[in-house]
Amino acid sequence: MIQKKKKKSRREFLKMAAAGAAGMLVVTLIPKPSSGQRIHDIEEAGQLERAPDWMEHYYAYVVDTTKCIGCGACVRACRRENDTPEEYFRTWVERYQITDTGHVYIDAPNGGHDSFPPRDVPGNVVKGFFLPKICNHCRNTPCTQVCPVNASYESPQGAVLVDKKSCIGCGYCVQACPYDTRYIDPRTHTADKCTWCYHRITKGLMPACVTVCPTKARLFGDLKKKDSPVKEIIDTKRVMVLKPELNTEPYCFYIGLDKSVR
């Protein structure tokens, strides 16, 4: 008698557990229905100031390191445009000096914000260049993959953005970015990074760093436009990305990248 009862209770228990678990699973998978009212509210309030087809683009960024003169205008412009905190950078410039003995001297004084003072290095510098760095807005983003609350996401145009109202400030995305382009903003305690000046590109303008570059070392464009110079460069010239072996598929392409680049 005892044996039969035990089997029955076990079966009943398992059935209940399965039903409960299935119920819970179903509930969590149903997304909350969105009202669609929201976008009209914002438009009518006059806050919407975008180019009419602002979603119909697919952006890419090109850096031509053979043209960069290391003036630092991009770093200053980015700080002014986006109110970046003092000790962190959304974009920065690194200087490489390689001597004939194979030594590589890299520096980025204040991220290149005040240009570069002369730096004496032992030996003759036989190869030197400047390397502007920026968030690569990858396609296979390691940062959006690890954000626990979906605060970091990819917009339909390919820009990777951070929702500061949802971010909990755990710092997982900062650890996950292999290019060190993210930081925790000490004023808002959330993650922050380059947004390709999303507020400018959606109005048909260029990012601030591209706008102020005097030598056209930084380029930005829409891959969906046939005559875009960025598209032409990516399609026809020898371009490279940073850390390709990590398979993050960056959308910031470099011309003239050297093997010494970090």
Partner: protein, 180 residues
């Protein structure tokens, strides 16, 4: 059933509590979550609605066409905002309520745009650094540069001069300083 009733009771209570918690948490989700993708859809609107600060050269040229005409091809590539910074409260529409005026008269000047004439902004691009591209005009030895320039212009020699002493920042090929 008597021996198992406590099992059923406690598991039911737990299941209801967990289910209830998940439902309650899902209702706290933002309205716009999932609209454009798995993120808070309102943010993409907020991010694109931030005010732009850099206004671009066209904004300055509305009034300052003279400066543009004078700039030689090379320095035309340097945006106004690089050296003169953001157009904050530089010019506001004239508040006298009279007839609409044309050109510069449209605006009342509130404050002068800043400019650093010490030569520091020039050095940021033109000081010689081995990492700079070879074809780019750079000055290796400032004293020698000034002495050579003096020979050309026969002006006053002052080896401590700043660059704008001889070069017009908008038209750097001119050696005689032209006032705006």
């Amino acid at each position: 059933m008597k021996n198992y009733s406590h099992v059923i009771t406690v598991f039911s209570v737990v299941a209801v509590a967990l289910l209830g918690m998940q439902i309650a948490l899902t209702t706290l989700q933002s309205d716009s979550f999932g609209k454009y993708g798995r993120f808070r859809g309102d943010h993409i609107l907020e991010a694109s609605s931030l005010p732009t600060k850099h206004k671009g050269d066209d904004n300055c040229l509305e009034c300052h066409e003279n400066e543009w005409d004078m700039a030689d091809a090379k320095h035309a590539a340097v945006p106004c905002e690089n050296c003169h910074f953001l157009p904050k409260a530089h010019a506001v529409p004239a508040a006298d309520g009279g007839e609409p005026k044309e050109g510069l008269a449209k605006y009342a000047r509130t404050e002068k745009m800043p400019i650093d004439s010490s030569g520091e902004p020039c050095k940021r691009c033109h000081l010689f650094l081995p990492s700079r591209p070879a074809g780019f005009p750079q000055v290796k030895n400032v004293e020698k540069h000034i002495k050579d320039g003096w020979k050309k212009t026969m002006g006053e020699l002052d080896v401590k001069s700043a660059c704008p002493r001889c070069h017009n920042s908008h038209f750097p090929k001119a050696f005689a300083k032209v006032s705006i």
